[in-house]
């Protein structure tokens, strides 16, 4: 069964460093998303991406964040200068598109900023 994959599973970085989280969405899906979940809190939407541009973004997704689809398969989230409060699980999701569509999530990347 097709699934969303994410790498790395765990990333440790120092405050101020740049990180890139990678995702391979399900191959025929057209819409891509990033969510995050701070430990013990609910899953929060960051950004959605369609047709090579951002469709929607939340207040969390400030200038420190960017997304890219560098080729036909990868979807990346870059955090330019990490802060301690960026420590969280980051989930990539993808969906096929159309009405009443369903989003499928990857296993997540645990980002720890020290």
């Amino acid at each position: 069964e097709p699934e969303v994959t994410q790498t790395p599973s765990h990333q440790v970085t120092q405050m101020g460093q740049e990180v890139i989280l990678r995702c391979v969405p399900i191959s025929n899906h057209l819409y891509f998303y990033w969510y995050r979940q701070i430990l013990g809190q609910k899953v929060e939407f960051l950004v959605s991406f369609y047709n090579n541009e951002i469709s929607e973004k939340s207040e969390i997704f400030d200038d420190q964040f960017s997304v890219e689809r560098p080729d036909g398969s990868n979807f990346t989230l870059k955090i330019r200068s990490t802060k301690l409060e960026d420590s969280a699980m980051y989930f990539c999701a993808s969906s096929l598109g159309g009405v009443w569509d369903e989003q499928y999530f990857g296993p997540g990347t645990r980002l720890t900023v020290t």
Binding site: Y31, Q41, K42, E56, M89, G98, Y104, G108
Partner: protein, 115 residues
């Protein structure tokens, strides 16, 4: 701001018991999805409900979407230890459904089923 409130937050029951988990909002959602999440893993989609009053069954799990599309419930019959996990509801925030809307998640119900 659209919010989804889930209750109860924690539920611990014995194997064989029935349970219901609730997901409520003051906002209307075009669709609502239920996920199950294991510790350290991503949410796994269980079901999507889209029509007010809709009922969907998945083996021992029954999902219902409220008539006004503001609330939903998950009922588990004869719970088993394998049902243990975090159950999340998530609403599609767009006015017309589809992937154009981001998902708004509830905090989840942590279910523990003891043998």
């Amino acid at each position: 701001t659209q919010l989804l409130e889930q209750s109860p937050q924690f539920l611990s029951i014995q194997e064989g018991e029935n349970l219901t988990v609730y997901c409520n909002s003051s906002s209307v959602f075009s669709s609502l999805q239920w996920y199950r999440q294991e510790p350290g893993e991503g949410p796994v989609l269980l079901v999507t409900v889209v029509t007010g009053g809709e009922v969907k069954k998945l083996k021992r799990l029954t999902f219902q979407f409220g008539d006004a599309r503001k609330d939903s419930s998950l009922h588990i019959t004869a719970a088993q230890p394998g049902d243990t996990g975090l159950y999340l509801c998530a609403g599609d925030s767009s006015n017309y459904g589809g992937s154009q809307g981001n998902l708004i998640f509830g905090k989840g119900t942590k279910l523990s089923v003891k043998p």
